[in-house]
């Protein structure tokens, strides 16, 4: 878990990350990379109505926020998720989630009295 002071120093980085995630096409790419592991653009484009160029553009935005990275495998580029950045995004919901956990425990104590 990150301390508040660490996080407070990085609001811009976090906003970039959410911008990178805040697009249905990009979220679909994240889901595909999550489910299928590292893959090439050719495979990412398979079965999609989105063009290879559009997917490349999305991947570059996501790369810019550190959400995905790209490695060369022979002649093709293989894209994979950067799990650490994905965890940062989950962190926002996790915080609110923990607040609800604590609040619901209070509710339990009240009604199970």
């Amino acid at each position: 878990m990150r301390s508040s002071s660490t996080v407070a120093a990085e609001p811009k980085g976090s906003a970039d990350l959410f911008a990178a995630l805040g697009d249905p096409a990009r979220l679909r790419l994240v889901t595909r990379l999550c489910d299928g592991g590292p893959m090439s653009i050719a495979r990412l484009t398979e079965g999609s109505r989105v063009t290879r160029q559009a997917i490349t553009k999305h991947l570059m935005v996501m790369k810019g926020s550190g959400l995905v990275r790209c490695t060369r495998r022979g002649r093709e580029s293989v894209w994979q998720l950067n799990q650490k950045r994905l965890e940062d995004a989950r962190c926002y919901l996790d915080r609110i989630s923990r607040q609800w956990d604590a609040a619901l425990q209070r509710l339990r104590e009240l009604v199970e009295d």
């Binding site: 609001p11 976090s14 990350l17 209070r106």
Partner: protein, 162 residues
């Protein structure tokens, strides 16, 4: 993976009437959640509660001091007796210098379901994807000293009271 929605389920060993009262009575709701309301919950009502000060723990009180009396607004949506209670609000809206009223809200829904051992309460909060990106990022820096400290206080208060 979703960034839009939170879902929680909790089994409460209490009667349906008891759970409903804890949710639908604004004083009872405030007592476990940590807010103070002057009026009753009714569908469509715009509730203006405040974060309550604490006398439980001086150290936490210091952290909490900057949020003391900060209004928390919520609009009651549905109240289906003993079955469903929902409202909209601005999650983590505790910075008095910011105007949250123009921003999208999240929808919080409590649903009661009778099971063998009691009441299965399902909580969902959804709509986070509509919250401005900059604000979502800001929650990272805000919550740790704010709401979670608040929750800790409530926990201590309740356990002392019993």
């Amino acid at each position: 993976m979703t960034t839009d929605r939170i879902e929680k389920k909790i089994l409460l060993r209490a009667s349906r009437q008891r759970v409903w009262r804890a949710l639908s009575d604004s004083t009872e709701f405030g007592s476990w959640f940590g807010m103070k309301f002057d009026t009753a919950f009714t569908p469509g009502a715009c509730m203006r509660g405040t974060i309550a000060p604490t006398t439980v723990d001086a150290e936490v009180a210091k952290t909490q001091k900057k949020y003391e009396g900060v209004p928390v607004e919520m609009t009651i949506e549905q109240m289906e007796p003993e079955r469903l209670f929902s409202f909209r609000w601005h999650p983590g809206a505790v910075d008095p210098d910011l105007d949250y009223s123009v921003e999208p809200t999240t929808l919080v829904v409590f649903e009661l379901e009778e099971v063998a051992d009691g009441i299965l309460l399902t909580l969902t909060e959804s709509g986070f994807d509509r919250i401005p990106l900059a604000r979502r990022a800001k929650v990272f820096s805000m919550n740790e000293g704010g709401w979670s400290a608040q929750m800790k206080l409530i926990e201590r208060y309740v356990s002392h009271a019993q």
